[in-house]
C-alpha cells in the first residue's frame, strides 16, 4: 500500500520536474520532440534507479557509520558520473540498438539535477529501506518521463503556432511549463 503512495506521490502529486524543479535543464532542452524525450526518459530511468541503489547503500553502510556524512555530495556525484560511463560501455556491448536510442543522452545525465536530487531525497524517506528508496527513484523517473513526454507533445504543436516575436522560444516554453505545473498542482492532497 505504501508503495502505491510513493508512486502516486512521485509521479503526480510531487512531480519531480513540475513541482520539485529537478531535471529542468533536460526538460527545457531535450523536449522539442517526443522521440528525444522518450530517449532521455529511458536513459534517466536506467541511471536514476541504479544510482539511487548504489548511493543509498554507500550512504547507509559506509558514509554514516564512518561519520563521513559530509562527503555525501562529492561521493554521490562521482558515483553517478562513474555509473554513467559504465552504463554507456555496458549498453554498447549488450544492446547496440538500445545504445543507439539512448546513448547520446547518457553523458548529459551526469549533470542532470534530477539524478543527484533524487538520490539525496531518497535518503530522507520515512522508515527508509533500500527497496523503498529504489522504488522512489523508479517512480521519480516515471514522473520525469511523464512530464517530459507531455511537454514534448505540446511543444510539437507549439512549433506551428503564431506567436508574438518576444514570446517565441524560451518565454512560451516556460509559460506552457507553468500551465502544466498548474495542472499537476491539482493533484495536491491526493495522498
Amino acid at each position: 500500500m505504501e508503495y502505491w503512495v510513493i508512486f502516486i506521490g512521485a509521479v503526480f502529486v510531487n512531480n519531480i520536474v513540475l513541482s520539485q524543479f529537478l531535471g529542468i535543464c533536460p526538460f527545457l532542452g531535450v523536449s522539442n520532440k517526443i522521440s528525444t524525450s522518450a530517449g532521455m526518459s529511458g536513459a534517466v530511468l536506467f541511471v536514476m534507479t541504479i544510482a539511487t541503489t548504489v548511493t543509498y547503500l554507500l550512504h547507509t553502510y559506509i558514509l554514516v557509520p564512518m561519520g563521513l556524512d559530509y562527503l555525501r555530495t562529492i561521493t554521490f556525484i562521482l558515483v553517478i558520473a562513474a555509473l554513467v560511463q559504465m552504463v554507456e560501455i555496458i549498453l554498447k556491448k549488450v544492446s547496440p540498438p538500445l545504445y543507439q536510442a539512448l546513448g547520446v543522452f547518457l553523458p548529459l545525465i551526469t549533470t542532470n539535477c534530477a539524478v543527484l536530487g533524487v538520490a539525496i531525497l531518497a535518503l530522507g524517506m520515512e522508515n527508509g529501506t533500500l527497496l523503498k528508496a529504489v522504488f522512489f527513484a523508479f517512480s521519480s523517473s516515471v514522473g520525469f518521463a511523464l512530464a517530459l513526454i507531455v511537454f514534448a507533445s505540446i511543444r510539437e504543436f507549439l512549433e506551428l503556432a503564431d506567436l508574438p516575436e518576444g514570446m517565441k522560444g524560451v518565454p512560451i516554453n516556460l509559460l506552457v511549463a507553468g500551465l502544466l505545473s498548474l495542472a499537476f498542482l491539482g493533484f495536491a492532497g491526493l495522498v
Partner: protein, 201 residues
C-alpha cells in the same frame, strides 16, 4: 594579458549577452526551485557565485596538469569540494539560509553553469580572465535569481526581503510562490530582459 576594455567585455558578457539564466538557460533547477523569496534568490546566487569563482580559479591554476581524458571527473571533484564547503559553512553560520535552500545547495554541483565555465573557459584561459569570467557570469546569475525571487515574493507574498507592505491577511497572488508561478514569472522576466537588452545592444 587583456586590456581593461577586454576585461570589461569579459565581465559584462556574463550579465547581458550571455546571461546564464535568460540567454543560456543554464542552472535552471535552482533558478526555479529556490526563488520563492528575494532573500533566497540572493543567497543561492551568491553561493553559486562563490563556487563558480573558486572552481574557475582552481581549474585555471592547474589546467596544464590535468590530462584531457580525465578533465570532467577532475572538474567535478573540484566543484563538488567547494559545494561541500559551502554546505558546511552555511549549516554552521547561516542556518536559516541553509534550511531555506535545502536540497538545492548540494545541487549546485550539477549546475551546468559551473561545469560549463570550467570546461569552456577556465581550462583554456588565464587566471585573471577566468576570475573576471566567473564574476561576470556569477553576477548575471545573482541578478537573475534575485530579480525572480523579488518578483515572486512581491506578487505572491506582498513583501520584499521579508519587509511586508500589505496587511497580514491580504489576498496575495499565492500562485507565484507555488511551482507554476516560478515558470510563469521567469517567462515574463525573460521577455522583459530580452526587450531591454535588445534596445541596449
Amino acid at each position: 594579458m587583456g586590456s581593461s576594455g577586454e576585461m570589461k567585455q569579459n565581465f559584462l558578457k556574463g550579465i547581458i549577452k550571455e546571461n546564464p539564466v535568460f540567454v543560456m538557460l543554464l542552472g535552471m533547477c535552482p533558478t526555479l526551485g529556490v526563488t520563492s523569496s528575494a532573500f533566497n534568490g540572493l543567497g543561492m546566487g551568491l553561493a553559486t557565485l562563490f563556487v563558480l569563482l573558486m572552481s574557475n580559479i582552481v581549474v585555471s591554476l592547474i589546467k596544464s596538469q590535468i590530462p584531457n581524458k580525465v578533465r570532467i571527473p577532475a572538474f567535478i571533484v573540484i566543484i563538488a569540494s567547494f559545494v561541500t564547503i559551502v554546505e558546511m559553512v552555511l549549516e554552521a553560520y547561516i542556518p536559516f539560509l541553509y534550511e531555506q535552500l535545502g536540497i538545492f545547495i548540494p545541487l549546485i554541483v550539477v549546475n551546468c553553469l559551473i561545469l560549463g565555465r570550467a570546461e569552456s573557459f577556465a581550462s583554456k584561459n588565464s587566471l585573471t580572465a577566468s576570475i573576471v569570467d566567473a564574476l561576470g557570469m556569477g553576477m548575471g546569475f545573482v541578478i537573475a535569481l534575485t530579480a525572480l525571487g523579488a518578483t515572486r515574493e512581491i506578487l505572491g507574498n506582498g513583501s520584499i526581503f521579508e519587509f511586508r507592505f500589505v496587511g497580514e491577511d491580504a489576498n496575495t497572488l499565492i500562485l507565484f510562490i507555488l511551482p507554476p508561478g516560478a515558470f510563469i514569472a521567469l517567462a515574463y522576466l525573460a521577455i522583459v530582459f530580452n526587450r531591454v537588452t535588445q534596445k541596449v545592444a
